[in-house]
Every structure is written in structure tokens, then in C-alpha cells.
């Protein structure tokens, strides 16, 4: 990002700049330290944990016994498989539907257009936790309760944020592309599939990453709609493990690190996509 307008706001005044810097460092410590401390505990044995200070580094920095135990006993493998199924199914459906809705809204004029846009916009103002009681009965009546389809179907609905971002991209694709394809006899579906979709690769990547992280991190949906132990996700596996072993901090910490690691890695490599998607999504809509 280029240096921006307000850039010199805070560095004109020297002493102010020093205070700001110290404060920033304090915030950085407050963010990094909790994570670091948990990593340290995760490499300690139970005896070591009880006898040494929380700030003391582990004796054996490569002691991965806790991780091994957690992977074998906590069923994280099952959780990972369920989470992966949820992500693959729901994110691909959601991207497909989001781009389809955006294609219709961006390329066609029809009578109910405003109404359609509004219909997708209004639910963002319905706080989703408050209607959970009723959603629960819908899931039950459709016989989806305690099946993986409950999660898939609840995650896959095309949300307005995605539609908005897709719409902006579609507006930037020249109409001439569509028209020349039309003259060559291509159907609308063909245009959507072979012209629009390929042009939206970066928007699709952004939305897919953000939704993947969202599904991976969600606790509420699996907790409420698929509580069966064979349907545990990564999130509910960790909370399940905590209710069995919550007091065993070396083991718990290993579980925490294992669960937190995947999105952290994704973030390190795909930071730009994530941040741009989140700003566009929240500010524009």
C-alpha cells in the first residue's frame, strides 16, 4: 500500500511519535504473548508445567509428545475430515451461487431487479443468532439435524457481501465481450461459464478464502445443528477435548496450537486477499 494522505498526521510531533511507538509495541506484545505462552506450555510435560514458571522455556524445545497424544486421542483427524467436507461443499456452492446472482444483477435488466437486490440485502440486518431457535426447527423438519448437510446448507447460501464484491468485478468486465459471444451464438449460460467466471478469478479467490476461514472457525453451526460426535468439526473437537481434558494445560495447549495453525498459515501466505476482501466486504456494503 502506498503512503497515504494522513501519513504525516502523527509523526510531525517527535514526543508524540515516541509515545505512539511505545504504545504500538505494547499492543504487539499483548497480541503475540498469549499465543507464545500457549506454544511454550504445549512443549512442556505435565510435571514440568507444574514445577516451572509459565515464562520458563521448555527443557526440550522439540518435545512434541503432547501433539502426538492429542492427534491420536482427540479425534482431530475426524474433525479435520468433516471440516474439509463442509468447506469444499459449501464454499464451492456458495461461490457458484454468488457469481450467478451477481451475473444476473450485473448484466440483465428486468422488472423485479431492485426487489431481488433488496431481498438479498435485508437478511444482513437480521442478527443470525437471534433467529437460531427457529432455524433449528427448520433444520429438524427437513431431517437435516445431526447430518453434515445441515452445516453445508447453512453455510452455502449466497450472502450479500459476496454478491456485492462479485457485482463490482462484473461491472468492470466489458460488455463487448458478452456481445461478441452473443453474435457468435453463445447462450447466456455459456457466457457466464466461459467469459464471466474466468474473468472473476481474483474475486472468487478472495471470497473463497474468506468463507473457508469463516467455516473453519465457526463454532455455532456444528455445535447447534450437528452435535453428534461423529460429526465433530475442528472447532467442536477442541471444545469436546476441553471438556474431557480442560485442566491438562500442556495437552490443551497442543490442541489449541494445532487448531489455530492452519488459518495462521493461510493468513501468512494470502494476507493481501484476506485484508482486501474484508475491507471491501464491510465498507462497501
Amino acid at each position: 500500500m502506498s503512503r497515504s494522505p494522513a501519513s504525516n498526521l502523527t509523526i510531525e510531533n517527535r514526543s508524540f511519535a515516541v509515545v505512539n511507538y511505545l504504545f504500538l509495541l505494547a499492543v504487539l506484545v499483548a497480541i503475540i504473548f498469549p499465543i507464545l505462552l500457549v506454544v511454550i506450555v504445549s512443549l512442556k510435560t505435565m510435571e514440568e508445567y507444574q514445577s516451572t514458571s509459565v515464562f520458563q522455556l521448555p527443557q526440550d524445545i522439540l518435545n512434541f509428545d503432547n501433539y502426538r497424544f492429542v492427534l491420536e486421542k482427540a479425534n482431530f483427524i475426524l474433525g479435520a475430515r468433516n471440516t474439509l467436507q463442509l468447506i469444499v461443499a459449501s464454499v464451492s456452492c456458495s461461490v457458484l451461487m454468488g457469481t450467478m446472482v451477481a451475473y444476473i444483477l450485473g448484466r440483465f435488466e428486468f422488472r423485479m431487479k431492485k426487489f431481488v437486490l433488496l431481498a438479498f440485502l435485508v437478511p444482513t440486518f437480521i442478527p443470525y443468532m437471534t433467529t437460531a431457535i427457529a432455524t433449528f426447527t427448520v433444520i429438524k423438519n427437513l431431517h437435516l439435524y445431526n447430518t453434515i448437510y445441515a452445516g453445508i446448507i447453512l453455510y452455502m447460501g449466497a450472502n450479500i457481501v459476496g454478491i456485492y464484491i462479485f457485482l463490482q468485478y462484473i461491472d468492470n468486465i466489458p460488455d463487448a465481450l458478452d456481445e461478441s459471444a452473443r453474435i457468435d451464438g453463445a447462450s447466456y449460460f455459456r457466457i457466464y461459464w466461459s467469459i464471466i467466471l474466468p474473468q472473476m478469478k481474483s474475486a472468487i479467490t478472495t471470497i473463497a478464502i474468506i468463507q473457508t476461514i469463516g467455516v473453519y472457525n465457526d463454532f455455532f453451526t456444528p455445535y447447534l445443528y450437528m452435535p453428534k460426535s461423529s460429526l465433530r468439526t475442528i472447532s467442536t473437537s477442541l471444545s469436546g477435548f476441553a471438556s474431557d481434558r480442560g485442566a491438562d494445560w500442556p495437552l490443551m495447549s497442543a490442541g489449541i496450537v494445532l487448531v489455530a495453525l492452519p488459518t495462521l498459515v493461510v493468513f501468512l501466505f494470502l494476507q493481501r486477499y484476506i485484508i482486501s476482501g474484508i475491507t471491501e466486504g464491510s465498507v462497501k456494503s
Partner: protein, 297 residues
């Protein structure tokens, strides 16, 4: 004639495309957004245990029960803790954005590190704090002891436990506020600051008269999302104190609603709570928009 029939065929294809592309997304929207909202409203006027096929309508009884329930007042007080923390979070996010918008050394690292908690698994974050909040082995207490202070009992029966719970949300989401404020700041034209500088404006003037008015919309969005999130906070309370904490000291609106539905099987009352929360959030958002608009005029 031929061109007309070709035109008709095109219209038909257009209509078929529109309908078929919108059909499934629309059905999902109806089924999982609108229908539950309507159902919630219906349930809120009935007595229902979640199993009976028949609803027994009781008028406004559920609402009366919720509003006269003394434990609801307790929950409302807890939510104040979350709102307070949310306000601190938005202010801190704005401050961090202003500072990190500047040519400060290492700003990329700071930005990335501060945003990072946002993408971490919430359950993992909550348990990280559960570790920090343990009594005997808490690293925070260890630090306090080093500088000669007493240990804090984080999970207590008082109001403060809710502040500690809300702090978890702040730790995780302050980077989100920072990032959207940064986007807002970057849309302010440089010339405005330069003109102000020529006029002899100091830092305070610049922030008060240029920065803040320019990003009013972003502030409003942050507050809106913040209120929404704060009032629907539940995961930290649910995971750290599954039973609601000592004397239900950590109960939030959502954990209470879930308890009423799951544990007491009172779906009607829980639905009334959902409707009330829904109306409350809408009311606050409308009021806030009104206020911000008035200030512009």
C-alpha cells in the same frame, strides 16, 4: 416476422436464464433467512416445548415473562460490559489506524500482527484466554505477583468477569476495526491536509476537522457491526463457563436464550427473547444512523 420470433426466443432465453440462476439462491434465502424470522415471531406468541406438533398460543405471555424475569436484568447489565469493551475496541482500532497510516517504522508488521487474531479459530482463542484467566497458573497473575500485586480471580461472581470475557472479543477483533479504518483513511485526499497545514492547523485540528468527518461512514459501520457483535456475544461465556458461571455471572443474552430453549425446553420464551433482541438491535442501528445524519446537516 423472422426477426420477431428470434427476438422472442431471445427474451425467452433471457427469462429462463434469470429464473434458473436465481431460483436456488432465492429458495435458500427464503428457507433459511425469511422463514425462520417469521417462524420466530410466531413461536414467540406460543407455548411450545419443541416437540408437540401443536402450538398453544398464549398472546404476549412470553414477552411478559421475559420482561418481568429478574435474571434478564442481570443479563442486561452483563451486556453493558460487552458494549463498553466494544466502544474501547472501536476507539483503539481508530487510533491504531491513524498511527499505522503514517510512515512509521515496521508498520506493515504491526498491521499484520494486529489483524492476525481476527483469522484465528475462535474456539482456540477462547481457550488461550481460559489459560490466561486460570487462577494459579495464569501468566497474567504470575506477572502481577512479580511486581508485587495480588493475583486476580478472573472468573468471579461480579461484573468484572464480563469485562474479562468481552476483552477476548476485543483482542480478536480490534485488528478488523483497524483495517476498515485504514481503508477509510486512505480515501481522504492529501490536499486537505496540506491546505490545513498552510492555515496553521495542528494535529488536533487535523484529526478533529478533517480525519474524523471524512471517515464518519466508516465509524458508523464499525459501531453498527460492533453493537451487533457485542449483543450477540456468547462463545467465550459458553466455553469458559458452560454452566453460566458462578451464579450465572457470565450469562449473555444468547447463552441465556440457548439455555431457555435447550435446558428448559421453553421455545416460546426463547423465541420472544430472540424477537426482543432483534428489535433492540434494529432500534439502536436506526437511532445511530439518525444521530449521525443529524450531525451532518
Amino acid at each position: 416476422m423472422r426477426s420477431m420470433s428470434a427476438g422472442k426466443r431471445m427474451d425467452l432465453e433471457k427469462n429462463i436464464t434469470i429464473v434458473s440462476f436465481l431460483l436456488v439462491p432465492f429458495l435458500l434465502l427464503l428457507l433459511f433467512s425469511y422463514y425462520p424470522a417469521v417462524k420466530l415471531f410466531q413461536f414467540s406468541f406460543a407455548e411450545w416445548n419443541g416437540i408437540d406438533p401443536q402450538l398453544k398460543y398464549v398472546g404476549f405471555d412470553n414477552y411478559a415473562e421475559v420482561l418481568s424475569d429478574p435474571s434478564m436484568r442481570q443479563v442486561a447489565i452483563h451486556m453493558i460490559a460487552y458494549i463498553l469493551m466494544m466502544l474501547v475496541q472501536v476507539a483503539l482500532g481508530l487510533y491504531l489506524a491513524i498511527v499505522l497510516d503514517g510512515a512509521i517504522k515496521g508498520r506493515k508488521l504491526f498491521r499484520a500482527a494486529i489483524f492476525m487474531p481476527y483469522i484465528l479459530n475462535t474456539v482456540a482463542v477462547v481457550y488461550i484466554f481460559n489459560y490466561l484467566y486460570s487462577y494459579e497458573h495464569s501468566p497474567i497473575n504470575a506477572l502481577l505477583n512479580v511486581i508485587g500485586l495480588d493475583s486476580i480471580r478472573f472468573i468471579n461472581e461480579g461484573f468484572s468477569v464480563n469485562l474479562y470475557m468481552a476483552l477476548i472479543g476485543m483482542w480478536q477483533y480490534v485488528g478488523f476495526n483497524m483495517v476498515i479504518f485504514l481503508a477509510g483513511l486512505q480515501s481522504i485526499p492529501q490536499e486537505q491536509y496540506e491546505a490545513a497545514k498552510i492555515d496553521g492547523a495542528n494535529l488536533y485540528h487535523k484529526i478533529r476537522f478533517i480525519t474524523l468527518p471524512s471517515i464518519k461512514r466508516t465509524i458508523s459501520i464499525s459501531l453498527m457491526l460492533g453493537i451487533n457483535g457485542a449483543l450477540q456475544a456468547y462463545v467465550q461465556a459458553l466455553l469458559i463457563t458452560p454452566g453460566g458461571g458462578p451464579n450465572f455471572a457470565t450469562e449473555t443474552f444468547i447463552t441465556k436464550t440457548l439455555r431457555v430453549a435447550q435446558f428448559y425446553q421453553k421455545f416460546g420464551k426463547a423465541s420472544a427473547m430472540g424477537v426482543l433482541m432483534f428489535l433492540f438491535i434494529i432500534l439502536i442501528i436506526v437511532l445511530q444512523n439518525r444521530l449521525l445524519k443529524e450531525r451532518t446537516d
